[in-house]
């Protein structure tokens, strides 16, 4: 009887033990004999290229690198955060989020500072990158993040966000396919023609706040210059300033002119890419990654790349740009030296050229820019105009960024005026400033 009882109890106990054992952290070094570097990423379109690079690296060094893909990006982001909380991060990983998030990872001791590696041999490694790419992963003295100054990530590619236009449709509208609109007036004037022709104008993933804010900041840089934009973020200039109201008014002008596609306020970027690739929209506001996307959707698409239309000649037009994706080394990894060695290899000219060609992305290594396809090279032009919130040394409160993005959506659906949006954004700013002052 007693034995039966014990046997009965043994099964549920074994099950509980198995369940609990499943919750235990994985050892960070799974191999007993050989070094294996584990890399986590979210870039679904690059897995094949990464696997090929891993094979080449193993042949060259005998070290196995395993690229583990977790997608979509929200799922990846959750996984990395959960792993950070469980002190169970892989040897190499990327971070999706704001610079503030990168700072939190650094402060929590999850990321290895790379200054030493970047600066050895007279800064050879650091010098191999485009400066804008490195700046994304760098913290400087006196910035708002409270992180020890230094470089904390390795850029593996670059991106810029610009406007693209369909050459055939522009020609149909009576425009010169090699001369896209440069000024905002020219851009708006096409709106009426687009309406009359029954086409769709500008498509973009403005259902997601970040892309609409990218254009808003581009326009703001052009109208008031970087110093005033950063002064606004520091709280020295209110969002109700006339320059900001002018920025918001431009979205109303775009909507009134008919240059914006119907339904742009709930459009996700994948749909926008589909519309543009299928030749149904004249313009798109998109990042350099779109070259690979359009190639996959419609290899024969005849399109050109242009700067966002210029509103004012007081300041240069800016474009959003910097490192597209970066890898960080786990500071607690037993394989950190091997991980750094692999990242050094991955960012050499030869591997960067391969990665760029295989994924149609802009390389982070500055020696690889020659020889990339023409349309991609257009995205790499005027890099001096590139700016990114990661390089500003200060971040706007997410609540303010959200208020701005949603406010612009409200302007487009004619629910709010630019002045009302400016006032709402300023209120959000004041609320957050007060909250953080406590």
């Amino acid at each position: 009887m007693r034995n039966t009882c014990l046997r009965r109890m043994a099964v549920p106990f074994a099950l509980v033990c198995l369940c609990l054992a499943g919750c235990s952290p994985q050892p960070s070094v799974p191999s007993k004999t050989r070094t294996r570097v584990i890399v986590w990423h979210w870039m679904t379109d690059r897995q094949a290229a990464f696997d090929e690079l891993s094979k080449r690296y193993e042949q060259a060094t005998g070290i196995k690198v395993v690229f583990e893909l977790f997608a979509p990006s929200e799922a990846y982001s959750s996984k990395v955060r959960a792993a950070a909380q469980g002190v169970n991060l892989p040897d190499v990983f990327g971070i999706l989020g704001e610079k503030r998030d990168l700072a939190s990872f650094v402060k929590a001791g999850h990321i290895l500072p790379l200054n030493h590696y970047m600066n050895e041999n007279n800064g050879a490694w650091k010098g191999s990158f485009l400066s804008k790419a490195v700046a994304m992963n760098e913290f400087s003295d006196g910035d708002a993040y409270g992180v020890e100054p230094g470089i904390y990530g390795v850029p593996i590619d670059m991106m810029t966000i610009r406007m693209v236009y369909n050459k055939d449709l522009l020609k149909e509208l009576g425009g010169d396919p090699e001369q896209p609109p440069q000024s905002f007036e020219e851009f708006l004037s096409i709106g009426n023609k687009i309406k009359e022709a029954g086409m769709q104008g500008l498509v973009s993933g403005w259902g997601e706040v970040w892309l609409v804010n990218c254009l808003a900041y581009n326009l703001a840089f052009n109208i008031m210059g970087q110093d005033k934009v950063l002064a606004t973020i520091r709280g020295e200039v209110p969002y109700t300033d006339e320059d900001w109201i002018k920025v918001f008014s431009l979205f109303k002008e775009m909507q009134d002119s008919g240059v914006l596609a119907d339904g742009i306020v709930t459009m996700i970027n994948k749909n926008a890419e589909q519309l543009f690739a299928n030749g149904k929209a004249v313009f798109a506001f998109n990042g350099s990654w779109c070259v690979n996307v359009y190639k996959g959707m419609n290899p024969g698409l005849n399109y050109g790349v242009m700067l966002p239309p210029q509103v004012s000649d007081k300041y240069p037009v800016s474009i959003w740009g910097g490192a597209g994706s970066s890898f960080m080394v786990n500071a607690r990894s037993k394989n950190k030296e091997a991980a750094v060695a692999f990242l050094k290899w991955l960012t050499t000219k030869e591997q960067q050229a391969y990665l760029s060609a295989a994924t149609m992305s802009l390389p982070a290594n500055k020696d690889c820019l020659t020889g990339i396809p023409d349309v991609l090279a257009r995205f790499a032009r005027d890099l001096e105009l590139a700016t990114h919130s990661y390089t500003w040394g200060i971040s706007e409160y997410p609540q303010v960024i959200e208020a701005m993005g949603k406010g612009i959506q409200s302007i487009i659906i004619r629910e709010m005026t630019p002045g009302q949006v400016a006032s709402e954004v300023q209120k959000a700013k004041e609320r957050q400033t007060a909250r953080h002052a406590q």
């Binding site: 939190s104 709930t266 406010g407």
Partner: protein
């Protein structure tokens, strides 16, 4: 005090040992996370930093008095729930009544009506987004070809139609669950009751009013509670269709919680407080509904 007999003690200890695995699983996977959420709700924390800042009830205060978007999302969820409780459940009940009769192809209809609930919410959201697209959507194309071109619009991008459209798609996706429960409830009603009523001269409406409706009330309450819980916590389909837009017109609480927790907000503590707030609202609503049902049942019994 009566001393416990050793045999009895051994027997009850054995019983406790048997429930120990289940209790352990419950404690580890439910109770600890549940209390941990309450605990985190009292902190300001980005989910990464090694330190958390204790803010007491400040997160709850912010939800109650400052977060207008949160309350807008609750209103939106309330509207979708209202549509689901009325339109969706009425549809489910009517279809269940139809399928409970001796009609041709009733098994086919039963399967057909249960297809939407088993489909992936993301897939359903994307398919409906495609159907409702303002530029190239099927619905607008059908409306135009049927001579109702003036009704064509960007259903999901127009603030006047976005929320109702989302609510209707939600009903389409969810009515199958209610249908199934109502059908099961209808089949539990003894047929003899109808036969006796008919023998006493009752017509179809009298049978429905005096037999079907009263006996289906417990099922209706269950379906209503499940509808409230399912709708107030639903977000995947909305995420796929509109991502809460345009502006905040289709924003719902769980989407908001997700946004609070993930970058760029990265406010774990605040997201936990939001989760607790939704939980309280749901418990309160379910409780009110159950009390309402008990009151109605008691008064019905008194009338009898």
């Amino acid at each position: 005090m009566i001393p416990l007999c050793p045999m009895k003690l051994k027997s009850s200890l054995e019983n406790y040992v048997f429930i120990l695995p289940a209790a352990l699983i419950f404690v580890i996977f439910y109770l600890i996370p549940f209390t941990w959420v309450f605990h985190l709700g009292l902190y300001e924390w980005d989910g990464i930093s090694p330190t958390r800042v204790f803010v007491g009830l400040a997160n709850f205060k912010e939800i109650l008095f400052e977060d207008r978007i949160w309350w807008a999302s609750m209103r939106n969820a309330g509207y979708i729930t209202f549509i689901a409780l009325t339109l969706q459940n009425a549809l489910a009940f009517m279809l269940a009544l139809a399928c409970d009769r001796q009609i041709r192809l009733k098994n086919f209809y039963r399967v057909l009506f249960f297809i939407p609930p088993v489909l992936s919410e993301v897939v359903v959201g994307l398919v409906w987004q495609w159907i409702l697209d303002g530029n190239y959507g099927l619905l607008n194309s059908w409306l135009t070809s049927a001579g109702f071109g003036s009704l064509a619009r960007s259903w999901l991008s127009d603030p006047a139609t976005a929320l109702t459209t989302v609510a209707i798609v939600h009903c389409w996706k969810g009515f199958g669950w209610g249908f199934l429960l109502f059908l099961a409830g209808l089949q539990m009603i003894p047929r003899e009751l109808y036969e006796a009523a008919r023998a006493d001269g009752a017509n179809g409406w009298s049978c429905f009013k005096h037999i079907t409706l009263p006996l289906m009330m417990p099922v209706a309450v269950l379906v209503a509670v499940l509808t409230i819980l399912g709708t107030m916590t639903g977000f995947i389909m909305i995420h796929a269709m509109t991502n809460g837009g345009p502006a905040y017109h289709t924003q719902v609480p769980v989407l908001r919680i997700l946004a609070s927790m993930m970058p760029p907000f990265s406010r774990f503590g605040y997201a936990c407080s939001q989760g607790i707030s939704v939980g309280f609202v749901l418990v309160a609503l379910s409780f009110i509904q159950y009390r309402f049902f008990l009151l109605r049942r008691d008064s019905a019994q008194e009338d009898t």
